[in-house]
């Protein structure tokens, strides 16, 4: 499917990266993409694609050339009206981005995150105890969904009811970065109802006095941002903070259950637990892709990209690039996995990543203390989305330690 253009040296890839079959199992396609060349032309959408680690990493770290303010999905905000008011964090460049980012850095700092640990541990122990009693359960819904859906909105300061809207909103927002395929259309159909619910929950009055949400509004009280911007940052937290950790934890549980020898290595050395999560993010990246838009003409690896052109970065392909990782297709919890680009990199690198790491660490630790064996009882079912990768169902059985 890959052929060199006759008028240039740029490899052309005809396959649709957002084809449902490829989304369900993207790894062969990613290999094709990486091996085609450092920069490829994705004919289906007429835009650029990057699949190698070095180029994805460099692009993420060059916001002056590859901007976010024209949208980080396929839609170019300079030409099309965005489906929602653009994020003041994700979809902005410096200096505007820096102001919002600085506030979120303070709110989600390692010190702030450390304070969550004991509440997270209590919640994890309760959830894990309950599933172990059953012996067989769905690790996707009963653990990977249940735990973050309890602790993260609590940390933000949301009320306890109707939390299924949060997962639906995340699913919509991540589908909306992709092209107008069936996933996109289905998400847009439910967007008005779900968006209304979210916007309502981002108001100061709807949030508890002590969560991340209230801390964001405290910055509005200081005059650093407007009341409206504070609400927008709460929306960012709720969009980016739940679906992603649900998928990340699900991918970790799926990978551990599918590789029982890795579970045993972890049992023998529980200090690897944080590394398990980073290796999971490398191996089965919950956020597969993001776009950037060129701000000027630029040459990448001898290929001339014009101004205002979309570039699709395959984070997941970069995380399995053999030029960067030894045996990239092995799930190896002992490898040094930091440096993966599953959280992005540079100024737009995931600001909530320390919360995500804590959630994963705490849940896996609770499981590790109580479970001797963790095994799949049937094939997991993949969850399709234009941007994220995750598991709808992971049927497992456990034996108590």
């Amino acid at each position: 499917m890959v052929e060199a253009k006759t008028d240039s040296k740029v490899p052309v890839v005809d396959k649709d990266p957002f084809d449902l079959g490829i989304l369900a199992d993207p790894f062969d396609f990613h290999e094709e993409l990486r091996e085609a060349g450092p920069v490829v032309w994705l004919e289906q959408y007429r835009l650029w694609g990057l699949g190698r680690y070095e180029n994805v990493h460099a692009t993420l770290n060059d916001w002056e050339t590859f901007c976010s303010s024209a949208g980080v999905g396929i839609s170019n905000f300079r030409k099309e009206k965005p489906w929602r008011e653009p994020s003041i964090l994700l979809e902005k460049d410096p200096p505007e981005h820096t102001r919002a980012r600085s506030i979120m850095t303070k709110v989600l700092s390692p010190v702030a995150v450390r304070k969550l640990r004991s509440d997270f541990e209590t919640a994890a122990e309760k959830i894990v105890d309950e599933v172990i009693q059953r012996g067989e359960f769905d690790a996707a819904t009963d653990l990977a969904e249940a735990f973050p859906t309890k602790v993260f909105p609590d940390a933000v300061g949301l009320t306890a009811h109707e939390r299924e809207y949060l997962l639906r909103y995340g699913n919509i927002a991540f589908n909306a970065f992709g092209p107008r395929n069936s996933l996109f259309e289905a998400s847009m159909a439910e967007a008005p109802e779900v968006s209304e619910w979210i916007i309502d929950k981002c108001r100061r009055e709807a949030l508890s006095e002590h969560g991340f949400g209230a801390q964001i509004f405290a910055h509005a009280d200081q005059g650093e941002i407007t009341e409206h911007e504070a609400g927008m940052l709460v929306r960012s937290l709720l969009t980016a903070g739940l679906d992603t950790t649900v998928n990340g934890i699900g991918c970790a549980l799926r990978s551990l259950a599918a590789n029982p020898e890795q579970w045993q290595i972890l049992r023998n050395n529980p200090s690897l637990v944080r590394n398990v999560f980073d290796e999971t993010l490398r191996y089965d990246s919950p956020v597969q892709t993001f776009f950037r838009t060129t701000t000027r003409e630029v040459e990448v690896e001898g290929v001339k990209l014009g101004e205002g052109e979309k570039v699709l970065m395959f984070l997941s392909a970069a995380n399995r690039d053999p030029r960067r990782w030894e045996n990239p297709h092995d799930f190896d919890i002992q490898r040094k996995a930091t440096g993966h680009v599953a959280f992005g990199s540079g100024i737009h690198g995931c600001v909530g990543q320390m919360v995500a790491r804590l959630e994963a660490e705490v849940l896996l630790s609770a499981l590790l203390k109580r479970v001797k064996t963790l095994e799949l009882t049937s094939e997991p079912t993949v969850k399709l989305n234009n941007t994220t990768r995750g598991w709808a169902h992971i049927p497992v059985s456990v034996t108590a330690a």
Partner: protein
């Protein structure tokens, strides 16, 4: 190529040569230097690549930016005037010979 020396808390010194444009954190990771965790991979989000720049070189490194400043407050070891996140220290030819001291702990 500029060289960087990492000094461990026990006094052991490791010197590596790095390409300009590489961060002090990246160089440490590539060489497998223990004492730098760099969990976030260089996004100034985790404060686990904290180093103390040797007094002799404090003048030669670029200034601390706002987000790095916030993050240094979160470091596990004591913050000093010479504290930096090594992911934010991009090596240039002028920084040849840079010496950084590793803290007791990063987490």
């Amino acid at each position: 190529m500029p060289s960087i020396t990492y000094v461990h808390p026990n006094g052991e010194r490791q010197t590596v040569e790095v390409k300009s444009g590489t961060s002090v954190m990246q160089a440490a990771m590539a060489e497998g230097i223990s004492g730098i965790v760099a969990e976030c991979g260089g996004s100034a989000m985790c404060a686990t690549c904290h180093v103390y720049v040797d007094p002799e070189f404090v003048e030669h490194v670029p200034d601390v930016q706002e987000i790095e400043d916030e993050m240094l407050e979160c470091a596990a070891s004591e913050r000093r005037e010479s504290s930096r996140l090594s992911c934010q220290l991009v090596v240039s030819d002028e920084m040849d010979g840079l010496v950084v001291h590793l803290p007791e702990t990063q987490v």
